[in-house]
């Protein structure tokens, strides 16, 4: 039945099959729970997971039965999952990642920084002030951070009051 629920969510069922799946789904608490669980997983993948789970015991079921996530691997291959993943990134970004990924004949460049998280001091600067590159980068590129003006105008507004 989990297969049918998954297919139903993916819109892969015909009208008749969908009707049967919906009937079967609604007739069983277990299937309802599966339906709910799949949507929670989908929403979480989109970063819209619920603050808490509405059905008690679902989290316990997830913890207690790792196999309950077995359909997820299938889920990731479905249009439903692909749509979820696509929603997490702009179409343009997916486009370039795809293009970056398709670059043959070169050592692939990780999209993540070689430093792991932005500009990090290379030299040992334990006793030194942290390297703050942002102001210089903004001046060099001539693109100031929008936050700069928000702060300035907030100060001006505060003074006016």
């Amino acid at each position: 039945m989990t297969q049918e629920i998954s297919s139903l969510m993916d819109g892969e069922l015909g009208a008749q099959e969908a009707g049967q799946a919906l009937q079967a789904c609604c007739a069983s608490e277990e299937h309802k729970r599966t339906w709910y669980l799949y949507h929670v997983i989908g929403d979480s993948m989109r970063g819209q997971g619920p603050a808490r789970l509405a059905l008690p015991g679902v989290l316990d079921a997830l913890k207690a039965q790792p196999t309950v996530l077995a359909p997820r691997r299938k889920l990731l291959e479905t249009p439903f999952a692909r749509m979820s993943l696509a929603a997490a990134a702009s179409v343009a970004t997916v486009g370039v990642v795809g293009w970056i990924g398709s670059q043959g004949g070169q050592v692939p460049t990780p999209v993540v920084a070689k430093n792991g998280g932005g500009l990090q001091p290379v030299a040992n600067t334990v006793t030194q002030p942290a390297l703050d590159v942002q102001d210089y980068l903004a001046a060099h590129r001539q693109i100031p951070p929008p936050e700069l003006y928000r702060q300035v105008n907030n100060r001006a507004a505060a003074r006016a009051r």
Binding site: A92, I100, V111, N115, G118, A123, V133, Y136
Partner: protein, 327 residues
């Protein structure tokens, strides 16, 4: 594929005069002429599209519209990630709109070069002094065919570049930067693109301007963009790098404007910032690298020198370590 100074420039002068009319010509088959055409197309052609840019750990998408009216470049640029921001450019005049803070910032272009107009050089001669120009393969992108031009540095002081020039218009539709290990460290690619008369001239106007009734105008950056004598110099700039300008810029949190000297080899630029080494003073050199962006700081007693540019660390160090008072 070496380039001799007399070859490309004169041949393309007529094309220069006709502007986008060059799109009717067949693509030249030598790298220098193709590069000259790409430089011209970025300035003369009408184009509109979205490009993706990855550099180090950052990937972003940018919307760009560019037209040329009566030999005046007009351009609208909108980064699609982060808070709303729009840059409208007329030749070197830049209007930067921040709708959230209702502020429009006026500036004059010094170092800002947006894809596909990445090069500050106006001719391949300036580029070929520091780079060997080579033709690469032709590939298909977004329904266009483009031919790769490789800029291979003649020394280890700069990164190799490659640009894919659309065969009809010459416009660069993809670009990459490689490190010394030939790994791609930065790349641009259009994800959608229109070239030519189908681009409406009205599309280069600000979209944000009419949404806000009263904009606060910050004209200070434009004033600061004027060249001044900072009293500082770079004694030993890397081969091929020439000083573009020197000025004083206000940076956040500083009591006084910071001196900025800009050097360029026609392809990339390096900014040198000189300011007081305030408390807590920095006592040791430090550096960081992310994608093509290299940052190097060097304390000189009560003065702090910071170098930032799209160059290898050794180049930034050479610049930073030769900063001195002008005699």
């Amino acid at each position: 594929m070496s380039f001799t100074a007399s070859a490309g420039g004169h041949r393309w002068l007529p094309v220069l005069a006709f502007g986008v009319a060059c799109s009717a010509h067949a693509a030249p088959d030598d790298a220098a002429s193709l590069l000259a055409r790409a430089i011209q197309a970025a300035r003369q052609a009408s184009y509109e599209g979205t490009y993706a840019h990855s550099n180090g750990d950052r990937t972003s998408a940018v919307r760009i519209t560019h037209v040329n009216v009566g030999n005046e470049e007009r351009e609208r640029i909108e980064p699609l990630d982060g808070p709303p921001l729009e840059i409208v450019r007329r030749n070197d005049e830049m209007f930067c709109y921040f709708p959230d803070s209702k502020t429009v910032r006026l500036d004059r272009r010094v170092t800002a070069h947006f894809f596909p107009a990445l090069l500050s050089a106006s001719s391949p001669e300036a580029v070929s002094a520091s780079y060997d120009l080579k033709l690469g393969k032709t590939e298909s992108a977004l329904g266009f065919d483009c031919r790769w031009i490789r800029l291979q540095p003649r020394d280890g002081l700069r990164y190799a570049q490659a640009m894919c020039s659309e065969v009809h218009s010459g416009l660069v539709v993809r670009a990459k930067t490689f490190n010394a290990q030939n790994q791609v460290i930065e790349q641009y690619t259009f994800t959608d693109l229109k070239i030519g008369p189908q681009v409406a001239h009205g599309d280069v106007k600000s979209l944000f301007e009419s949404r806000i009734k009263r904009w606060v105008t910050d004209a200070q950056p434009r004033e600061e963009a004027k060249s001044v004598d900072t009293g500082w110099m770079v004694n030993d700039p890397p081969a091929g790098f020439r000083k573009v300008t020197e000025l004083r810029r206000s940076l956040p949190g500083r009591a006084a404007p910071v001196s900025q000297l800009v050097y360029s080899d026609g392809v990339v630029s390096v900014s040198v910032f000189v300011e007081p080494n305030t408390a807590p003073p920095r006592t040791a050199e430090a550096s960081s690298e992310d994608g093509t962006t290299t940052f190097f700081v060097r304390p000189m007693g009560d003065t702090l020198v910071s170098v930032l540019g799209e160059v290898p660390l050794a180049t930034a160090q050479q610049v930073g370590r030769s900063v001195a008072h002008r005699p």
